[in-house]
Each structure stands twice: as structure tokens, then as C-alpha cells.
């Protein structure tokens, strides 16, 4: 659903879009739930929930901006690129034979090619890319063997990758035996390929010594372990599979979703299996991992197959009252606990604001004066990122946009802090002195040096004003999130951000300022004794790493 509609006349240098809202009438509701909380934000309940953090928003915004910038130019560029690539392909592509050739034909091909000594390798690369028939590759290897007496390791490796990607199990096994007998030790790439290939065949037990070989040199990758575990499960040995899985978790590697899918598909109804699978769900919760559609379907079938418990699963989404669409249960709140909050406060101070050197973002004197200012002032209800908010509209002086937002918040009866930079106080076309004076009358203000970064101050003030202090900014704060030391703190920061950031998606001067409501429930795998709710990624949904999914699987237990 597009938020913006554009009018037809677009000037070359400045596009003047006139923006219409999807619903013509404005509606203000004051639901009773809000009265209980100390800070109130009047927002619209009946509107479809839109958030900057919802999955797919970034992709939609990018497409809209592309449309705005003019589709015609892009189409031309794309066509040109296609032409160039076609030309390049035609000139450099050597044709792969479509049937097995005899050695004479191969010799002729080799002598005709531009680099005869590189011919076998290049031909095999092309075959691998195109996924040709194994027989053609075999005929090439036959020619090489007859020509030079032996097949070099490189070519065997390429042939092996062709067999593995094509799924020719007998060939994989033959090649493996050959390589083992001819060469003392194989390289890690060969072992990885063999793990992938052999795990699907009947000789899958030979994977385990291979894994040991890899361990001698480097830590095996997630993919190595994943292939080994899925091989064990597919061939019926769940004990080995679980041992390998525990090993992998101890090393701190996160398994692929296909591995989990394998485990859920081949699970029995034993009690200990059930516990292990529930442990997987707990892992997903603690590490904020969202399953994909395939995995979530396997989970649903597994739950529904548990005898005597009567689980039913339904796909749904969360409605505007923060309840599950299918079972009406309330979702987990997004509020942080006391210790989490203080830990986040301390980490943000140490890593985001001070970091390796205070001088990168500010100076010690400025930081100290800000700390004193915050201590002196009363607790704030909302913090406004002055520069970001002033840029929400391209029309008119920026100070007026800022004034409009601040007045709107003041009308709601909140204590406001506005953060800006010292150049805003100087009178200019964009920054009207009178607007700034009016802002100073209705809100507390703090102006940093022009060369300091103001976002860390925003975060500091918001965190130190208590758990119910929100902040207004369109900035997604990804650069500051990246300064935090470990992923647990980053997840905590993201959770806090979703629950406390107010976004003004667009603004037309003269109209009312509207805020996008902050999230009140946590999008994470959550459970109660009689239900499980799992958020999942739909197939084809392009979710960025700073967005959260909107679809849920609701599992309820009937007694």
C-alpha cells in the first residue's frame, strides 16, 4: 500500500509532490487503556499499523524513491548493461559440448582454444557453472588421463564439485575413494564438498573422520556441521546428530534453518526429543532468530503430531490492540527489566558516547556540561532530535517544522527536551530566530557544538530520563547500535528503540503532525503454558536486519 500519491507535474530540478493520505477523515480516539500509563500519546487505533521497523518498509521506500527519480533513465541504463553483458558473454564463452566426446575431439578443442594449458580447468569451471551432464565431464577426464597419465588434484576437485552439485552419489563415492588412495591428505575444500556429498549416501558414517580432519586445521564451518547433522538425521541416526549439534552449539555456531527443519521433520515423540526441540525454540527466542516459512511449517506439523496434547496451529498477525489475531492472547510487553535497562544505560555511555576516544563525537567539557544540565532539569517525557525533525519536510524554513512538532507535543502536555547545534541559534533563512525563541519558551533546549555529533546526547538523555521517556527522530540509529560491543547488548538496544522511538513519517506544513505509534509488544518467540507464538519470515519477503516480521504462527493447546 503506497503512502504517497503524486501529481502529474514534476519540475526537473525540484519535485513538488502533493501528498494525499489514504483516509480522508481524521479521527482522534482516546482508548481507556492509555489513561493508566503516565504519558499519553493520542494516536489512531483504527488505522492499519505502520512502523519503520516492520518487515519490507525499507524495500518499499527504496522503490518509491526510485520511482520518484525517474524510471526512464534507469531502464536505459539496464538495457545498456544487458547489451554489454551479452557482448561480453558471447566473446568469452567457450562452448561446452553437449555429449561425451572422444579423446581426439577433446584434443582438437584444446589445441583450438586460446590457452591450451589452462583448457581443462576452464572447461570444468564452465561445466560446473552450467550444470552439465556428468558423462561429458568424465569424457574430458578420460582424455586428460590418456594424455598425461594422471589426473591432477585440481581437476578431480572440480569434478567432485560437479558431482556433488548434481547429486550423483555413486560418482562422489568413486571419486572419494580415488582421491583417498592417490593423495595423502586432502584440503579443507575437498572435505567440505565430501561432507556435503557423502552425507546423503549410505556410506555417510565416513563423514565423521572427515570432520575430525577439518578440525585439525580450522574450526569447521556452520555449513560443515549442518551437512553432517542433516546427514545423520536423514539416515536415521539421531544420537550422532544430537551429539554433533551440541558440539556445534558449544562452539557458538548458529545452525542453518535447514538443519532445524531436518530435526523437526525426523523427530520422534520421545520425551527427551521433545525437550531438545523445545530447547531449539528457546535458543531462537534468546538470540532473536526468526524462522523462515518452511521451518515454521515443520514446527507446526511437529506440534500438531504430538500425541495427547492437542496442539492446533494457525497463521495470524497481531492486531492493533496488541493481541494475537487468532487466539486473542496478549503479546509479551516490550518493556525492559530494571537490570537490562541499567546495563543498557551503562553500555551506551561507555561505548557509544565515549567509545575509544571522547573527542571523536564530542569533547569532555561538553559532555560534562550536558550531564549537569540533565541532572538539573526535571525528568523529560520526550526528547526531540532537532536537526532530524527539522528536515521532515523540504518546504519552508526548517525552524518552522521543528516548531510545529514541538508545539504538538506541548499540546499533549509533555516535558520536552530539544537537542540541536549552535548554528541553529544564528538567524538565517532556514533558522528563524523567533521560531527558536518560541521553542525555547515551551521546551528545554540544549545546543551542542557544530562539529559534535548530537545523537549520542539524545540517547543519553532518553536513557537517563527513565523507562517512559520517548524520543522523536527518523534516524534508525544503526551506526550507534554498531558501536555496542556484543550482540546481546545490540538486541537490547533494538528492543528499547522499538518501544521508545516515535517517527514522524511525513509532514505537510499547515497540517496536523502525526506520529507513528511505537511498538508495545515484543516480536520474539514467546510462550505460555498453553500457547506458543512464533514470528516468522514469509517466503519472498525482503526483511532488512533492522526490521521485524509481521506474521506469526499461533499454537494453542486444547485440553
Amino acid at each position: 500500500i503506497d503512502i504517497f500519491l503524486f501529481c502529474n507535474t514534476v519540475l526537473k530540478f525540484r519535485s513538488k509532490p502533493t501528498e494525499f493520505r489514504s483516509k480522508p477523515t481524521e479521527f482522534r480516539s482516546k482508548p481507556t487503556e492509555f489513561r493508566s500509563k503516565p504519558t499519553e500519546f493520542r494516536s489512531e487505533e483504527h488505522r492499519p499499523f505502520r512502523s519503520v521497523f516492520a518487515a519490507g518498509t525499507a524495500r518499499r521506500t527504496a522503490e518509491m524513491l526510485k520511482k520518484r527519480e525517474g524510471r526512464a533513465e534507469e531502464k536505459e541504463e539496464e538495457e545498456e548493461m544487458d547489451r554489454c553483458s551479452v557482448r561480453y558473454k558471447a566473446s568469452s564463452q567457450q562452448e561446452i559440448p553437449d555429449r561425451p566426446l572422444s579423446p581426439e575431439e577433446w584434443r582438437k578443442l584444446r589445441d583450438d582454444s586460446s590457452r591450451p594449458d589452462r583448457f581443462p580447468g576452464r572447461m570444468l569451471n564452465l561445466m560446473l557453472a552450467a550444470g552439465t551432464d556428468v558423462d561429458v565431464a568424465k569424457s574430458l577426464l578420460a582424455f586428460i588421463a590418456l594424455d598425461s597419465g594422471t589426473v591432477p588434484y585440481v581437476l578431480l576437485l572440480k569434478y567432485l564439485s560437479l558431482c556433488v552439485s548434481g547429486g550423483h552419489h555413486s560418482e562422489v563415492l568413486d571419486t572419494y575413494d580415488l582421491m583417498k588412495s592417490c593423495f595423502k591428505t586432502l584440503d579443507i575444500g575437498a572435505y567440505s564438498l565430501l561432507l556435503k556429498g557423502i552425507s546423503r549416501t549410505e556410506r555417510w558414517r565416513e563423514m565423521l573422520p572427515m570432520l575430525e580432519e577439518i578440525k585439525k586445521i580450522v574450526t569447521p564451518t556452520r555449513r560443515n556441521y549442518g551437512d553432517a547433522i542433516s546427514g545423520a538425521f536423514l539416515n536415521g541416526d539421531s544420537e550422532t546428530g544430537w551429539t554433533l549439534y551440541n558440539e556445534m552449539m558449544e562452539l557458538g555456531l548458529e545452525p542453518n534453518q535447514e538443519v532445524w527443519q531436518c530435526m523437526f521433520n525426523s523427530a520422534t515423540s520421545l520425551q527427551k526429543d521433545k525437550e531438545k526441540l523445545l530447547d531449539i525454540l528457546i535458543y531462537m527466542r534468546e538470540n532473536q532468530v526468526y524462522p523462515q516459512e518452511m521451518l515454521v511449517k515443520s514446527i507446526k506439523t511437529w506440534f500438531q503430531s504430538l500425541p495427547g496434547e492437542g496442539w492446533t496451529g494457525r497463521f495470524s498477525s497481531v492486531d492493533s490492540r496488541d493481541r494475537c489475531g487468532s487466539c486473542q492472547a496478549e503479546m509479551e510487553s516490550i518493556e525492559l527489566t530494571e537490570e537490562e535497562y541499567s546495563q543498557l544505560k551503562q553500555r551506551v555511555m561507555a561505548n557509544v558516547i565515549e567509545g575509544r576516544d571522547v573527542f571523536f563525537k564530542t569533547t569532555p567539557q561538553e559532555l560534562q556540561s550536558f550531564k549537569n544540565f540533565v541532572k538539573k532539569s526535571p525528568a523529560f517525557d520526550v526528547i526531540v532530535d532537532g536537526l532530524n525533525v527539522a528536515n521532515i519536510s523540504v518546504h519552508g524554513p526548517k525552524s518552522q517544522n521543528l516548531l510545529a512538532v514541538v508545539s504538538e507535543l506541548c499540546d499533549q502536555g509533555l516535558t520536552i527536551l530539544v537537542l540541536g547545534r549552535k548554528h541553529m541559534m544564528q538567524h538565517s533563512k532556514m533558522w528563524n530566530r523567533y521560531d527558536i525563541l518560541k521553542i525555547k519558551q515551551i521546551a528545554h533546549c540544549f545546543f551542542t557544538d557544530n562539529i559534535s555529533k548530537d545523537d549520542p546526547f539524545l540517547l543519553y538523555a532518553a536513557l537517563h530520563s527513565g523507562n517512559n521517556c520517548k524520543f522523536v527522530s527518523r534516524d534508525l540509529m544503526r551506526d550507534h547500535k554498531a558501536c555496542l560491543p556484543d550482540s546481546a547488548t545490540r538486541r537490547l538496544f533494538f528492543k528499547w528503540q522499538r518501544g521508545h522511538q516515535l517517527v514522524v513519517p511525513w509532514y505537510v506544513p499547515g497540517k496536523k503532525v502525526r506520529f507513528q505509534r511505537e511498538l508495545r509488544y515484543d516480536t520474539v518467540v514467546q510462550s505460555t503454558p498453553t500457547s506458543w507464538h512464533l514470528p516468522y519470515d514469509e517466503d519472498g519477503e525482503d526483511r532488512s536486519s533492522y526490521e521485524i516480521p509481521q506474521k506469526w504462527l499461533c499454537l494453542t493447546k486444547q485440553h
Binding site: 568424465k138 594422471t150 588434484y153 593423495f183
Partner: protein, 419 residues
Amino acid sequence: MTFLRLQVVGVLRRCCGRPSSSAALKCHYSGLPTSSFISTPSSALTSSRALSTTWILRKDVPQPKDEEARPKLDLDVWKSMMRTVALQEDRVKTKDKVEGKLSPLEATRMLVDAWRLAGRLVPDSLTDEQMEALSKLTTKSSKRKFLKHLSIKEGYKKAKMEKKEKKMAERMERADREGFDVDSKADVKLKNTFLMKFWSRSLDTLLFWRSAQAMQYGQPLVFDMSYEQHMSSHDAKNTVSQLLQCEGWNRRSVDPFHLHFCNLQPNSVYHQELLKRYGQETWERLFITTTSQRHVDIFPRENLVYLTADSPNVLRTFDHNKVYIIGAFVDRSAQSGVSLANAKRLKLATARLPLNEHLQWDCGAKNLTLDQMIQILITIKETGSWEKALEFVPIRKHGGFYEQKTENSVFIRFHQWYE
């Protein structure tokens, strides 16, 4: 004999059709469902057509596919050949298996050997230092990139060596042909001229005298060498290369600066690399002042101006009384504003070059390399013209100079450097 036999086979096949001919020749296992023939290197491909006994036009008869018609190729001959080779080798040597956990160095060595065998870009030989550095790298991709870099360097050396040998061989050949001695310089012809040769020695002496004069009376220019922690070793080596170039450009200018290398700690990466590049003797004879003191301690604070691309102040005129500081830093790290942070800490005045004011910037970082900086400063010192000085900014970064300074240039100054 073989040729005759095949001719007979061809005739037989044409007369009798396929099934009987297949029985006449040897079959060999190849894993394919249909029978196949051994192919020898000298076998000729014979084609056959199906016999039609009805009065249908030949082209209406379905022709058999070429694959079925041609003699089958043995696709697994290479496997049997490799097995025999392996068996032979087995008898010769016993396989030595590596047991237990390997030390990191040995593991790295095994990795390098295995990758060389697998055809990856790996140098043929590694020194001990390089092996140490390689085993310190943690991830597989960083090891792969390091090895690729070393193999490319080795490739250049090899190519150079080959060229040299080829030239030497040609020279020897020419010497044999024309019958003169290779080592003598008899092929250098003496020229008959009244112009005396200008030895490079003379130019060097002149430049050294000028540098010595600059050290006594010239304007100081400081290179701040306190950025070791912010650079990788590769970047540090690049910085030292740029410093060498700076020294050269300065020496050759009409009125050189008096160069200072400040904050140069005795055993730092900078110092070691400079010694390696210059050599001990040249390093001691250089006309540069190197000190481990800070520039704030040597010069009065009012005279110092730190040149950095992140500064809000623009340098409009070159002041011959100020001491300009340039950070000896190749700024490839993700963190920006490092040099500005240093200047802020010491409360120094900062400035940036007027790049936005004179050039239509295209794309590229406004951080310029050290040799570009010094050439700009030398030119602005000599001529006072920014147009001439900013010619040293690489052309790929900008789209040309602004033609004339109109009133709009005042608004260009207000170009929101702030967000």
C-alpha cells in the same frame, strides 16, 4: 592391421546392422546400460545408418542419434589408470598419518600445501616471517587474501626474473654472433661535443644546500606521526612510501619547507619502516628534523594550524608565518574524524583546503594523500594561486574548476557542511 580390421567392421556393420557387430567386438564395463567399445587414441569414428527395407525416402527414415551410432567411449578409463598409479605408489612408500592435535604453525603449513595442491593462488615459498603472520590471522578469508597478495608479488618477481634472463640470453647470443665481449662497455660510443655533462651529483649537491638553508631559515611543516594505532601494517607501509615521496618533492622545490617528523617514537612502526626504506646511512644524512616530542611542545600554540578534511574552517590564504601540521595517516579505517579529534584534544586551530570552493567535486574522499598535500602546499606557497595548487588533486575526483568566482560563491560557502 588395426586399420583393416576397422574397415571390415564398418562393412560388416553396414550390411548386418548393429546387434551382430556389437557381438563381434570386445565389450568393456563402463557403467552405462548399453554396450561400449574401448577407444584407442588412433580409433577412427565410423558412422552407420539404419538399413531401410521399405520404399520410404531416405530422409523420412528416422536417423539414429549420433550418440548411439558412434562407438561408445570408455568414460571410466581415468579411474582405472589412477588406481594403478595409486597401487604402485603405495608399494613404494608407506602412508604417514598425522595423529593428534597440530601446532598452529604446522597446521598453517599443511593448509598452505593443501591449498597449493588444490590450485588456489598460493606462493611457491613462504619466509618464516610470512608464515608467522599467516598463522596469526584468524579467519579463512583473511588467510586466503594474504596468500593471494603474496603470490601476486611473487608472480611479479618471477616475471621480472624471466625478462632479465631473456635479455641476458639475447645479449649473449648477440655477443656470439657479432663476436664482441659482453662485459666490456665498448659499445658505448663517445660523443664529440662542447657541452659538458651535467652530473646528477651536481644537482644533488645543489638541492642539499637548499635543504640545509631551509632547515635554518625556511618555514616549518610538521608531519604528525601519532597514528600507529589507527592503521593496519599495510597502511603504515603506504604512509611511509608517501613520506618518502613528500621528502623528494620538497627537496626539489624552489623554496623548500623545513620538514619535521613529530611524535616519532624510536621503535614505532613508522621508524622501523623508514629505516628499512631509506637505509641507516641515508636516514642519518636526511635533511629532516625527527623528534619524539609533540609539535605543541616545539612551536608556540598560536602558530599551529592542523590541516584536516573534517575541519569546519576553510583555508583561504596561505600564511607564511604559521606552522601547518599534516597527520601522517592513510585514512582507510571506518572511523572518520581521527585527526580532528587529535586537534580538538590539543585545542589547536584547524583548517581544511578550499576544495569545495574551487572544484566541482565528483566522487571520492576529500582526504588527500601526503604527496598530493605537500605538492599543493608547495605550489600555493610559491604562487599564491589555488587554481595552480589544486591541480594536484586527482582528476578522477572532480569534474573541473569553477570557472569564475561569482556572487554565488558566497552561498557555496554556506553549503551545509552541517547535516
